[in-house]
């Protein structure tokens, strides 16, 4: 009987781990999905924005001695600005070029930013000093037998949920959101209707990158590790989450992140930790085989 109790608390703890990981994937996935929705380009440099976010907050906290929440806020703003520059430098000149060209500049920017970070911060793993958050963040907020959820986990999850809701409101209730949806359907007609296409695209990059930078800081805190290549693996996973949920769909990115995070953790916990990534990608492939447009994606016909 005790064994059954232990088994179920193990399962619950893994679920908590999986949901937190999924929330992080979702935050990054939103950046991919929004940019893809609007200009049909996969912004492979998005993972690097996430990495820069983690490093910027690190520098502000350790070098300039800012309090954590101020650093967090500033980082999000700066990452939004980086997103705009990224679009301006790497994608805007290629707006009318074949989509493959933009894909190559995306990969180029990704490699460039990774190496830039390596030059500035070095390649070794850094971690945020423990003192930057009040001590209670590391203590369990809820505990049930052996299962516990720390305040930090709750903080990460609530930031994720709150910003997803804000994003949903922006897309569906504001003028700029309406313009984004219009551009995603037809760029030329939107321009004819008087929508400033480039301005709206810049805005899209800004929002997506802000979320990416935010995710970088949260992950850096949660796993205690920031390093120049962190954006690569996380970016690929988040991209997979975006595809799984249906690329172009914001709720899809959230759902995809959750599914991928839980699949990964359960795979490692119950099947084999050696094949952890393999298992999570197998889940993704299985979903895509049965539903090629992703869990919540629209049928996109010839666009893909």
């Amino acid at each position: 009987m005790e064994n059954l109790f232990e088994q179920s608390s193990l399962f619950l703890q893994q679920l908590v781990n999986g949901i937190t990981l999924g929330g992080v994937y979702a935050l990054i996935a939103v950046g991919y999905t929004m940019v893809y929705g609007v200009i049909q380009v996969i912004n492979f440099a998005h993972g690097e924005i996430y990495m820069l976010g983690a490093f910027l907050a690190y520098t502000m906290v350790t070098f300039f001695g800012l309090p954590f929440f101020a650093a967090f806020f500033l980082t999000v703003l700066i990452c939004a600005f980086f997103g705009i520059i990224l679009d301006f430098v790497a994608y805007r000149p290629l707006r009318k070029a074949p989509r493959l060209a933009a894909l190559i500049t995306a990969i180029g920017m990704s490699i460039f930013l990774q190496n830039l970070a390596r030059m500035i911060w070095g390649s070794q793993i850094k971690s945020y000093p423990r003192e930057i958050l009040p001590a209670f963040f590391y203590r369990p907020a809820l505990s049930f037998g052996e299962v516990s959820m720390t305040w930090l986990q709750i903080f990460i999850l609530s930031v994720t949920v709150v910003f997803m809701l804000i994003l949903h409101l922006i897309i569906h209730k504001t003028n700029v959101g309406t313009a984004m949806r219009a551009i995603s359907q037809d760029k030329v007609t939107s321009a004819l209707m008087g929508i400033g296409v480039n301005r709206v695209i810049s805005f899209t990059f800004a929002i997506g990158s802000a979320m990416g930078g935010m995710a970088g800081v949260l992950v850096g805190l949660y796993y205690n590790a920031i390093f120049p290549t962190m954006g690569y693996v996380a970016g690929i996973k988040a991209f997979a989450a975006a595809v799984l949920g249906g690329i172009g769909s914001v709720p899809g990115a959230m759902l995809g992140g959750g599914v991928l995070g839980i699949a990964e953790v359960m795979g490692a916990g119950y099947i084999s930790s050696e094949y952890r990534d393999g298992i999570s990608y197998a889940v993704m492939i299985a979903v895509i085989l049965f539903k090629p447009s992703g869990l919540l994606g629209r049928q996109m016909g010839e666009k893909v």
Binding site: E6, I125, S127, T150, S273, R276
Partner: protein
């Protein structure tokens, strides 16, 4: 065009002269990437030895020049570096590689080119048997794993242990050796879990370990992941569980982590346990670099010393150097270095002592009880 040609000629002459004037000893190791801090010890040790050799007049009047070859602890990069060195007729011996997986990738290339190499740090068991051209002045993982099991059982009294290993040659070799010996000594291994080097999330595996209630978690991996594992275990509320590892955890990043207090590791070199032959090295190292020499520095210092001794004795001929190294096969003929006497068995492996050090008050200190 003419200008360019003459530039080329001058450049060629200059480099040619430089080549004729010095003896190049390449040192292959990660110098950037995740394991860059291991490479720092390697680099410092090699440069210090070369400086001392040159100050004493070089090898037969020629200066020693250390070439730092970065391979990122990546087997693919190691093979590229190895191919480059094997095809350079100016190279007669290599000091390297550091990671076992890199050594295993580079070794067939050196064997084909009949180029001898001395690894200061690769501990995987199979390396020695695979090539008559590959030597090492460090113990093997079967020894290290056994040693750790004995230490865990006899000194620490652990009964229930779990193993958290990385999927690579070094870590898996250590795990197997540890488990075999642990079984003999009555330590129960409750479970093993794996991770890959690109992950930062260890919570699913640690959650499983938490439910098993072990006395200790053995991490036979490298420091960048080891430090994260320890911190994430603490944040999952794993308490009263000891952590220990092998020489791969011997790094600053682990010491600076407050969660790692009490963690212990095996190491081939401890400044305060080294014999009187190491005193000069330890002092010179501290003076030049402002910190204590770690085992990567000490072993590389000796490996470069052995390479220089070989060249001094038989010249820059690859085959002769190999035969010279192979002839150092008994305690009487041993090379006397800062890490003690080094001599090779028929596989090019050597017998070296292991020591234990632990983290106390945020510093490495030699463990009070050593196993000899």
């Amino acid at each position: 065009m003419k200008k360019f040609m003459s530039f080329l000629i001058v450049f060629g002459l200059l480099t040619g002269i430089a080549w004729a004037d010095s003896i190049k000893i390449p040192v292959a190791s990660p110098f950037t990437g995740q394991l860059a801090s291991f490479g720092e010890g390697v680099k410092n040790g090699a440069l210090l030895k070369a400086e001392e050799i040159n100050a004493a007049g070089g090898i037969n009047g020629k200066k020693v020049e250390i070439l730092l070859e970065d391979e990122l602890c990546d087997p693919k990069e190691a093979a590229t570096v190895a191919t480059k060195l094997a095809n350079d007729p100016g190279i007669s011996i290599v000091v390297g590689h550091l990671c076992s997986s890199s050594s295993l990738a580079a070794l067939p290339i050196y064997r084909a080119a009949k180029l001898p190499a001395i690894s200061p740090a690769s501990t995987n068991v199979t390396i020695g048997q695979m090539s008559p051209y590959y030597f090492r002045n460090v113990y093997r993982d079967d020894f290290q794993g056994q040693f750790l099991a004995k230490y865990a059982a006899r000194v620490k009294g652990f009964k229930r242990v779990v193993v958290f290993y990385e999927v690579n040659d070094y870590s898996m070799g250590l795990m197997l050796a540890f488990m075999k010996e642990a079984k003999k000594l009555g330590i129960k291994v409750l479970g093993t879990e794996a991770y890959s080097s690109d992950t930062t999330d260890f919570k699913p595996q640690l959650t499983k370990f938490k439910m098993m209630k072990p006395d200790a978690i053995f991490i036979p991996g490298y420091a960048p992941q080891g430090t994260l594992i320890v911190s994430q275990a603490r944040s999952l509320g794993i308490k009263n569980v000891a952590f220990f590892g092998a020489d791969g955890l011997d790094d600053d990043v682990v010491v600076k982590n407050p969660d790692a207090e009490g963690l212990f590791v095996t190491t081939p070199f401890l400044p305060d346990k080294a014999g009187p032959q190491a005193a000069g090295f330890i002092k010179a190292y501290r003076k030049k670099y402002g910190k204590d020499a770690n085992w990567f520095a000490a072993n590389t210092y000796d490996a470069v010393g052995m390479a220089a001794a070989a060249i001094k004795a038989v010249g820059q001929d690859r085959e002769k150097i190999r035969n010279y190294l192979a002839s150092i096969n008994s305690r009487e003929k041993a090379y006397n270095g800062v890490t003690g006497k080094t001599y090779f068995d028929k596989n090019g492996d050597c017998l070296k002592e292991a020591f234990v050090k632990e983290i106390k008050g945020g510093k490495w200190v030699s463990a009070e009880k050593q196993l000899q």
